[in-house]
Subunit: 118 residues, 2 copies
């Protein structure tokens, strides 16, 4: 199963951006791309996940699975985000046992959406 990790590349985490400063989202996206992409996970940058007050935000989704959005992420979380995405890809239904989720996924969930009916 191929799952998608969306990373908001424009997120400024609700803060003003100094001239020449790279947005937090772009820094997070770069840090994630610099890591090793887990098997079955495609990493896609996206302009705005509409979670600006709780950014930077990332989302995990795949057909037939629950989708998840996580917030308040920084570059320091890149490795944990990748390992959480790997666990999501491995879980047959996308439901990762609670204890196997990275702490940032347990504590910084913004929302989840049930699988779509097609």
């Amino acid at each position: 199963m191929r799952v998608t990790l969306h990373v908001c590349t424009t997120c400024k985490a609700n803060m003003p951006l100094a001239e020449g400063e790279t947005p937090l989202g772009a820094r997070l996206y770069a840090a994630i791309l610099a890591g090793e992409a887990p098997e079955g996970v495609q990493i896609v940058g996206v302009e705005c996940l509409s979670a600006c007050k709780e950014g930077a935000a990332v989302a995990l989704s795949a057909p037939g699975r629950w989708s998840y959005v996580y917030g308040r992420m920084t570059e320091a979380d890149a490795a944990d985000i990748l390992s959480g995405a790997a666990a999501y890809a491995r879980a047959p239904d996308g439901l990762v046992p609670w204890r196997e989720r990275p702490t940032i996924f347990r504590k910084q969930s913004l929302a989840r959406i049930p699988p779509m009916e097609s």
Copy 2:
């Protein structure tokens, strides 16, 4: 196009629940069901959208479309939620022009997720 409006029925909006009190989510779900379901919208109750701190939460989704999660909803918002869901169902790609979105959708977005690649 048939779209789904998910309503969290268990949401307590991060507050303790008094004995015998009906959770805010259940009250919101009842208020939405008491309204007129817009054409092309199916209303589905769900236990927890993992947006507890910003509840009550609702989500709009459909195959091939952006998904949206909105928060801090109360029973008083039921009519606006239904009209927002109707606009989402009518928009061919689910992208409702900004000015045609209910104010609660403009101001209380928790997150959106890009369409899935199937």
